[in-house]
């Protein structure tokens, strides 16, 4: 199952050794890039959905003085990290956030949406908790292959599932939930560099091949060449009033 396999990958010591506590391609460089497109002021209320260790929550608080909250489906990572003393964290699913309507200025969701079993519900939740004019910052792995229609869910092939989704699929999720306009940037270079670093890191090949197998839509096996199809994106979108919703 992709969720369990990816969760295990996120929690692996080898991946953590390569990425540091951010546990994702691009690390805080991409977080900063997303924030720069939003223009949040000091004290902005930001929720990090799928916060993992809570590293981004601490970063948002310490570097930007935002009022940040972290939410993760698993308490394991942040409990190990020891950050619970200084940052606010809660255990919940992305599809059911324990927050009131319109209570946030920003939602941050980094390298997580592909792990969520019900991405449509999750994006609807992001929209619900955001105020009108608030921003969603998404970064995640996606399928860079030429669009062959809106992939509606996991693809199963040869006994293994892939949660790799296309750009049109992701953008449609957001538009349907009242977001727009969308700023999409391809940052696949970060994913390639992470894969390369995993290869170079002694003992990380197992995790790397797992990554290849999980994200290869054909699930054909362990060739590193298969990582050429997955890409990595940064997407920033603003919650609009209903009549302003973007229908592009």
């Amino acid at each position: 199952m992709p969720f369990q396999a990816l969760s295990a990958l996120h929690e692996s010591a080898s991946l953590r050794a390569v990425t540091g506590p951010s546990l994702r391609p691009g690390g805080f460089h991409l977080t900063e890039r997303g924030l720069s497109l939003c223009g949040f002021g000091p004290g902005a209320r930001i929720v990090d959905v799928g916060c993992g260790t809570g590293a981004s929550v601490a970063y948002l608080q310490e570097k930007h003085r935002f009022s940040a909250l972290g939410i993760d489906v698993s308490g394991d990572l942040f409990l190990k990290d020891g950050s619970v003393k200084t940052i606010s964290l809660a255990v919940a699913r992305a599809e059911k956030l324990p927050l009131p309507n319109a209570s946030c200025d920003g939602v941050l969701c980094e390298c997580v949406l592909s792990l969520v079993s019900e991405p449509k519900r999750a994006v609807e939740e992001f929209s619900r908790v955001l105020r009108i004019g608030g921003f969603l910052i998404l970064s995640d792995i996606y399928d860079r292959a030429p669009d062959d229609g809106f992939q509606s869910g996991p693809v199963t092939s040869r006994g293994c599932s892939s949660s790799l989704r296309s750009r049109p699929f992701v953008e449609k999720l957001l538009v349907d939930s009242g977001f727009g306009p969308l700023t999409w940037e391809d940052h696949s270079r970060y994913l390639k560099e992470l894969a390369a670093q995993l290869i170079l890191s002694d003992g990380s090949l197992t995790e790397f091949h797992e990554l290849c197998t999980i994200f290869d839509s054909g699930c054909a096996g362990s060739s590193v060449l298969q990582l050429s199809r997955p890409g990595y994106y940064l997407l920033v979108a603003q919650k609009m009033k209903k009549r302003e919703s973007f229908h592009g």
Partner: protein, 67 residues
């Protein structure tokens, strides 16, 4: 043979010191990477094992070139 084993069977050609694994940073195709490599404990000369040069680096190159 892994890099620890490589370190054990080689000695430094410059000062004949023993090799041990150290973290080496390098730039390749505009990417910055780190890898633990055998290096001389005395003078710091780094050994690049054949398996890295011909094996892992070839895979890294293919990924970065998007082939």
């Amino acid at each position: 043979m892994n890099f620890s084993q490589e370190a054990a069977v080689w000695s430094c050609t410059s000062c004949e010191g023993e090799l041990s694994l150290i973290k080496v940073g390098f730039t390749y195709m505009k990417g910055n990477f780190e890898v633990d490599l055998p290096a001389c404990a005395a003078c710091g000369l780094v050994l690049i094992p054949e398996s890295l040069a011909l094996g892992k680096m070839a895979e890294v190159e293919r990924i970065l070139e998007d082939k």
